[in-house]
């Protein structure tokens, strides 16, 4: 059997790739996709631990995470459209022109 540790390491790599993308990419939609990558990494972690414990908590949690991701997608894409309407661009660099 494949050790659970391998799955956990894969999830960790995926999570950090997502985090890297959120912090480095400029296109708003790609940044958002990277958040989805992070949520998927969390789901993989939940499922791997569920297999390790042999219980269903991880599966139910993953279910809830998918539902939340769908809700986030709806509101996030609506906001991206609103930004595009007001500025004509979805570039994060343009958005960060608000003074600091």
């Amino acid at each position: 059997m494949v050790p659970i540790t391998y799955y956990l390491l894969l999830a960790a790599a995926l999570f950090c790739m997502g985090m890297f993308g959120v912090l480095v990419r400029t296109n708003a939609l790609v940044v958002f996709m990277c958040v989805e990558l992070m949520l998927n990494a969390v789901n993989l972690t939940f499922l791997a631990f569920a297999r390790m414990h042999g219980d269903g908590i991880g599966h139910v949690s993953a279910f809830f995470v998918i539902a939340v991701a769908a809700a986030e997608a709806a509101i996030g894409l609506a906001i991206v459209i609103a930004v595009f309407r007001s500025r004509g661009s979805v570039n994060v660099d343009d958005i960060r022109t608000m003074k600091h």
């Binding site: 790739m17 996709m33 269903g56």
Partner: protein, 168 residues
């Protein structure tokens, strides 16, 4: 070497490669397509973890619904080729470095877990990760978060309509 290892290796490598494409692709369309393939390979990995139901949900909801929404918005806004590269600001460099730092910490922590899958009896094997088992939990023990999710979906619907309205 058995089939499970081979499948895991293939799925894991493909997941990482597609995820890498998501964060490096120049055009958002390519990122979105790479993300879809990440979701598919992850669903394969879920099956290896005996999470068949979640794997099906992954394909239906993520790859099916959420990604279609993404593609729809990309097409709607006509974001074909945004070849713009971000300026390397201090925040970006620090952020990128912190992602690598977290990866190092996680690799050490999780590498030490030495975890193996649980040995399930035939009775448990028959119900582990099935739709019936998950559904029963959600509608009985997990009632409170389930109701909260129903509220969440309503809020998301109202919020999305309000934000995407062109005039208020």
């Amino acid at each position: 070497m058995n089939t499970e290892f081979v499948l895991f290796g293939v799925f894991a490598v493909m997941t990482l490669v597609s995820a890498g494409l998501v964060i490096t692709a120049r055009s958002p369309i390519n990122s979105a397509m790479a993300l879809v393939s990440t979701f598919f390979f992850l669903a394969g990995i879920y099956v290896l973890l005996w999470a068949h139901t979640v794997a099906v949900m992954q394909v239906l909801v993520y790859a099916g619904a959420i990604m279609v929404l993404f593609l729809f918005v990309i097409m709607l806004l006509n974001l074909g080729d945004a070849a713009h590269r971000g300026r390397p600001t201090v925040t970006r460099i620090l952020g990128g470095a912190s992602a690598f730092g977290l990866l190092a910490v996680l690799a050490v922590t999780l590498g030490r877990t030495n975890a193996m899958p649980a040995n399930l009896g035939p009775q448990e094997q028959a119900t582990f990760g099935t739709m019936a088992a998950i559904g029963q939990s959600i509608f009985t023990a997990w009632l409170l978060p389930f109701e909260a999710v129903s509220l969440l979906l309503l809020v998301a619907m109202v919020g999305a309509v309000v934000v995407a309205k062109s005039r208020i």
